[in-house]
Symmetry: D2
């Protein structure tokens, strides 16, 4: 698959950070899906993040639909999303090709692309590629919302500071997060996290964090036992987002300290329908949604681009050296990753609905 993800609804991603453009082709959408351009812009703005804790590279991210759109609706043909790179400054990155930045894709990209790939700003590896992903996800989030399915993500932890957990029924929390470009449930925690990030920025350093995501309104029955469990497909796309280093569902790694009697979610009736007394499994059993909110966490490493001088090697000379990263960088990316995770989740869920009920089932009628 490589640069194409999805089975019934497929997204094909392209672009380099400092090339002409980044974009995506989305195939398998039904005709007549309304494209809410304000929603697309709003999600892209959240992806840019608030100025004090995000990169100084700021560009309008204007979306052009090269195909598949007409009069504000999908045509049903492949939808092509184009975002031109207007703030490209390749000069900042000239040396990275030879002196790979620690924990960046400079070295691995060099091995894979033999020096032919434009490594400026991360090139094809750049987080900038998530912009068309967010745009595509925004369109699907609108469609899912008309079916009562909502997705929300908050920063559950940032450099040791924790947010409160989602409420047992997270719908209201998801609503509250919708407008935030630094999405935290507890305002007190939010302030501390922002200060911590600003402090890292001042120190020429960066911080990591964890995102927690909830999906509400999902019916039971989506997913496959082998190999396309709902967890498998979500993890697949989440682990392709730059800087993601961990994914867990429900209690996740805390399961290692639990007994079955503690961890099991017992079926019960709530309001006339089948529910569970707890949600330790994160809303999926046997790889298939069980009707509970889908709950997962995504670990995001600290931005590898930091201002401090770091050790590295000179690939040309074959000797050790140091590198100081110029460019414009984020002291944290965890908040900017939140709308990307929402978009990824919307793509996966829409894909599973389309696989089970046909792609026409995504239409808003």
């Amino acid at each position: 698959m490589s640069n194409t993800f999805g089975k019934a609804i497929k997204i094909t991603l392209f672009g380099e950070s400092h090339g002409p453009a980044v974009g995506a082709v989305v195939d398998g959408l039904p005709p007549g899906l309304r494209i809410d351009k304000d929603r697309v812009s709003a999600e892209l703005a959240k992806r840019s993040g608030p100025e004090s804790v995000s990169t100084a590279r700021r560009e309008p991210d204007e979306v052009e639909f090269l195909s598949g759109e007409k009069d504000g609706y999908t045509q049903g043909t492949p939808l092509t999303i184009l975002i031109r790179n207007t703030a490209a400054r390749p000069g900042d990155y000239e040396k990275t090709a030879e002196t790979p930045r620690p924990s960046h894709a400079d070295y691995t990209g060099y091995v894979k692309y033999l020096g032919f790939a434009d490594a400026s700003g991360g090139g094809h590896f750049s987080g900038r590629l998530t912009a068309p992903l967010v745009a595509a996800g925004a369109i699907l989030q609108s469609a899912l919302e008309e079916k009562g399915i909502t997705v929300g993500t908050h920063i559950s932890r940032l450099h040791g500071i924790s947010d409160r957990a989602f409420a047992e029924e997270p719908s209201e929390d998801i609503k509250a997060l919708k407008g935030l470009d630094f999405p935290v449930l507890d305002l007190n925690a939010s302030e501390k996290m922002i200060k911590e990030t600003e402090a890292a920025k001042a120190a020429g350093d960066s911080v990591g964090g964890t995102l927690e995501t909830a999906v509400c309104g999902l019916e039971a029955g989506l997913g496959e036992p082998w190999f396309d469990s709902i967890e498998s497909e979500l993890a697949h796309i989440l682990f392709s987002i730059p800087a993601v280093k961990g994914v867990e569902f429900g209690e996740g790694f805390a399961m290692a300290d639990k007994t079955g009697s503690e961890a099991n979610d017992e079926p019960c009736f709530k309001g006339g329908r089948i529910s569970m007394r707890s949600n330790n499994g994160g809303g999926a059993d046997g790889g298939i949604t069980n009707g509970m909110p889908l709950l997962f966490r995504t670990a995001v490493k600290p931005t590898p681009s930091i201002a401090m001088k770091q050790n590295t090697v000179d690939l040309g000379k074959g000797e050790e050296t140091t590198v100081e990263i110029k460019g414009r960088h984020d002291p944290a990316i965890v908040h900017r990753a939140a709308p990307v995770v929402n978009a990824a989740a919307a793509l996966v869920i829409a894909d599973f609905i389309a696989r089970r009920f046909g792609y026409m089932a995504l239409r808003n009628e």
Copy 2:
């Protein structure tokens, strides 16, 4: 893809726990790959686990190659692995269809398959489906070892008890783990874990755990930036293994508490070749192997089948009830999952090698 996983080397899984057989078709193997049947048996035996901490359902797991094998070598045509179910006892499970066991796939399977699927022993969801996966992985592990690539997994945590971490260079640890059916590096920790598991068994309960896996001898350059990062593909197959609830690479979720200056892995030269001063990223940057050992952890929930009486619902009567699980079950599955994780890792790595260099590159010459 559903029941088919892989791009250049593909495995198609089939079977039900208490049906005639479980099996797999592996396509894309080169001709002339030696099939070490003893190795296949050894991995399947490890998957069965030591008797005191594993299910009482014990069967020989005899592998028949229905196609693709001749005189101990792959033909290059699809290799079909068949394992007959000899110890099937569907009677034990008769009621599970109507009273879903907590945190099992009984309810989600019922929704998805509308009652037509044989739910006995988990049916198609059963961990028994991992047997042909392990058999396929054993063949690829042999092939990778001839190229100097080794895979090993230990129980890094079991109900609060921790094993020591892999050594910085884990090759020797991997060797030490090879023969163990309860794979723990520190023998003292191993004893404690076994006792803890036996105690859970005695209490009619079960325990969860975490596996840590290392892959040594991997060259840099395997994986894709979008969407098939090495982490994506590994997580995809790992999350399809029953009971897996979390996957993290390198420092994983601990990244949330780190700064960039702590987390970054600085390139250096070691023994004339490029290496890193640390391995917090788990051997991959930008989704592509960087030449360091690949390091990841997999969270395995406690076996949901426990002897205690549990609450559930009666799907037929539409009322709440209780369920007592008869059958034969494991007090822990984390140790049995270890060879499955090794097999999954071998499949993913072989697939990436085949994608980059062609499937003929997997031959042992």
Copy 3:
């Protein structure tokens, strides 16, 4: 994809002609599809062909469902079809590995599989692999028939002898063909074709032919403009059937001699619904079904296995030599290919219905 075909409904084929078995795994079927085992047997019997004009290798083709079936219905899990090879006589073919039979896959298989593949009876290339394909197709044909979709194929030409064409509305013709193992519409032509085939057999030679297939009851709207036109998907699977050398839709190659005004199919109303005044396009415009019967022809080359002595090379000695084919062979395969073409068409159509409306849409309710 290689040995897996289909998007929403996928078939994975395996086996060698003289190995233990041939089989298929079919994934993506809905639960609760009735499996008419008599229909499966009937289609397999047609695939064997009448004795006088078919191979002397005759075996019962007993189907075992290794998974996915319960009490005569699909479970919704992968359906595994196994047919053991009971009449295997590998000794007959011993020498073919070294002296490739003309227009067989002996030489190309040798190049691809480096001598590791069992070439007896064609090995993995054998027409025997079509048996599980026919079994899978029979199940889908039953399901489609309950939706009013019928598929039929006749020998439109055999070594210069022509059958009459399908009637403009071919439903009755399809019914008439259903029971025939030498499917010809005009009985007079049928007799001539059988005589011609018997004559070829007597001469130690073989004959080629053309099949014409009609699918009735298809709604408009199935298929994709790029790249999965209904013609593309059909041709893909048809050209994987051994001996197929041509596929054409509607007027096909005769289009080269026509003008647009002759070839165009003008829309009109018939019985209150949109129809066309002619069907030169074979039922598809822009790669999508237009509601007219789907009409296509498949060219089948003469069986390459003939009794006459033929020239070839000795791969071991590197010199020219001759080969006399022993084994048991068909003087024609065109009639035996007819049920295979029907099965292939059923698979493609079911797949397109599942893609558009979800796989649950294939259920018979």
Copy 4:
């Protein structure tokens, strides 16, 4: 797959005839492949055809590489080809949405896209989508030529007029065809065909034709027995090209009149390497190339857009009516399809080489 074709090298197509642009994303190319922009332009010019026998819609087809290209070489990242639509005149087509043109995709597109798709000029169904396909194919043709693999196509028949066949060894013929935008081997036949096409144009009509393609320099061993035979993959992409209605390999449909002893290709030695005494099979046995030139023919129907008044239906009013097609159309498309077929063949062959030997094997070293 739908709008994505290929396994190791994949092309994703997008665009509408009268939308902003058409384009393609090509993934899986190795880094460092030289992009000969003159060759790309030359192939696009051939696709436009000579003025007297082609549409009056003429635009420069300027290619912009949005990603994946740097300094005239592939980066190894997804290559995005963009061709803006500069001569869009949607007004010409206003009525086609309601009164579908005979043998166009107007009606089937209406059923599939429910009226949301822009049908102007065929919309997403338009032959204009072949422009980015031709551009991608031109890049791969250059790469294949450096490996000694050449592809050529001539009009073997046009409205009853035949060209001579390819020479037994077609390399020289392929060279001769390279510069021609009306590719015919026999100049006399060429003149007649052009006159015939001009006559059709004058009569407000159109003509169909057949293309014959040869690929030289292919090694044996490319292709798969099931389901990805070389014929299957070629037919798949060929049948997605608008107006293609038939594909045959070697003797194709003429096989129906032959015996095995006439049709079989006997292996022999020629110049020290294995060859065949004839090439009736078109260069493939068992779905795998046999080292002989690959030979196939593609049937192209007459342009359905003709100036004559034709019968159709009014979808809005639900009654029969007539339609007169304005727009700018081709009196024949067979000559314009020739470079498209070459591009399609280059894509398929490059994909098979990449599957067997890895995508790095396509580099020119």
